[in-house]
């Protein structure tokens, strides 16, 4: 099972909205079973109670600016969106969107946030094989800011053996 932790504050951010919003996020592959959401960007052009959309124009501009600045965009491979006042689940529309990502996309992490702190995540690999993998969102989502080095250092300590994930990260103990 692949586990996912949000270190970006995204889960706190999305609680401000009761309409659907969406964006992209960068993902750090800490090990084959553990992914971290590192940064997020809200990019939607349309936000309605039950629909959200990021236009292709917004995506072109977003990536073009980053490439021009020579920023690393290889980790930006998470599509996130919210379900407003509904629970978190991947609708048939959402699943169709995942299938329609451009042909170059190798793998994609998708996260949907719903009401009552519900969250669902999945990983879709398109190349070299088409694989769909459920992703477990572990613990509560952290809301504290860390830089990447601090995070990796914290996660490299003995918490894994002890089985206490968040104790090592924020010193407060985890779920």
């Amino acid at each position: 099972m692949i586990n996912l932790i949000d270190l970006s504050g995204l889960s706190k951010f999305v609680k401000r909205f009761d309409k659907e919003i969406s964006g992209l996020a960068s993902v750090v592959v800490l090990n084959p079973n553990l992914l971290l959401i590192d940064k997020y960007w809200m990019l939607n052009n349309i936000s309605k109670p039950s629909f959200t959309e990021i236009s292709s124009e917004a995506l072109h501009k977003f990536f073009l600016e980053k490439i021009k600045k020579n920023e690393d965009v290889s980790n930006i491979r998470c599509w996130w969106h919210t379900h407003g006042r509904m629970s978190a689940f991947f609708s048939s529309w959402d699943l169709n969107t995942i299938e329609e990502f451009p042909d170059g996309t190798d793998w994609l992490l998708s996260v949907v946030f719903g009401n009552h702190n519900s969250v669902e995540a999945r990983l879709d690999m398109f190349k070299p094989l088409r694989v769909e993998v459920p992703v477990r969102v572990v613990g509560r989502f952290l809301e504290k800011e860390y830089n990447v080095i601090d995070r990796v250092t914290a996660l490299d300590v003995s918490w894994w053996k002890e089985g206490s994930l968040f104790k090592a990260i924020d010193g407060k103990g985890g779920d």
């Binding site: 292709s56 073009l64 990502f101 042909d103």
Partner: protein, 81 residues
């Protein structure tokens, strides 16, 4: 005195292609005067229905000529419901 033949090296250009999300950015080397289509062929990029190709952020055609340092991006809208 016989004049020698002056050989002019064919100029090459480099174009960046970003196709979807993830580790998908690549640089392709092309002959000067190459088109968007030739750049995509060189990069091994295929275009899905619904995906849009842009050159330096602007809409373009496959026959548009690319220049050194150009950036081709390939994306489709992303919607959730």
């Amino acid at each position: 005195m016989e004049r020698g033949v002056i050989r002019v090296a064919r100029k090459r250009i480099a174009v960046i292609i970003k196709d979807g999300v993830g580790d998908t950015k690549k640089s392709v080397i092309l002959k000067k005067g190459a088109t968007v289509e030739e750049a995509l062929e060189a990069g091994g990029n295929t275009i899905k229905d619904g995906s849009e190709v842009r050159l330096n952020g602007d809409t373009t055609s496959m026959s548009e000529e690319v220049e050194d340092g150009d950036i081709i991006t390939i994306f489709s809208k992303i919607s959730g419901a």
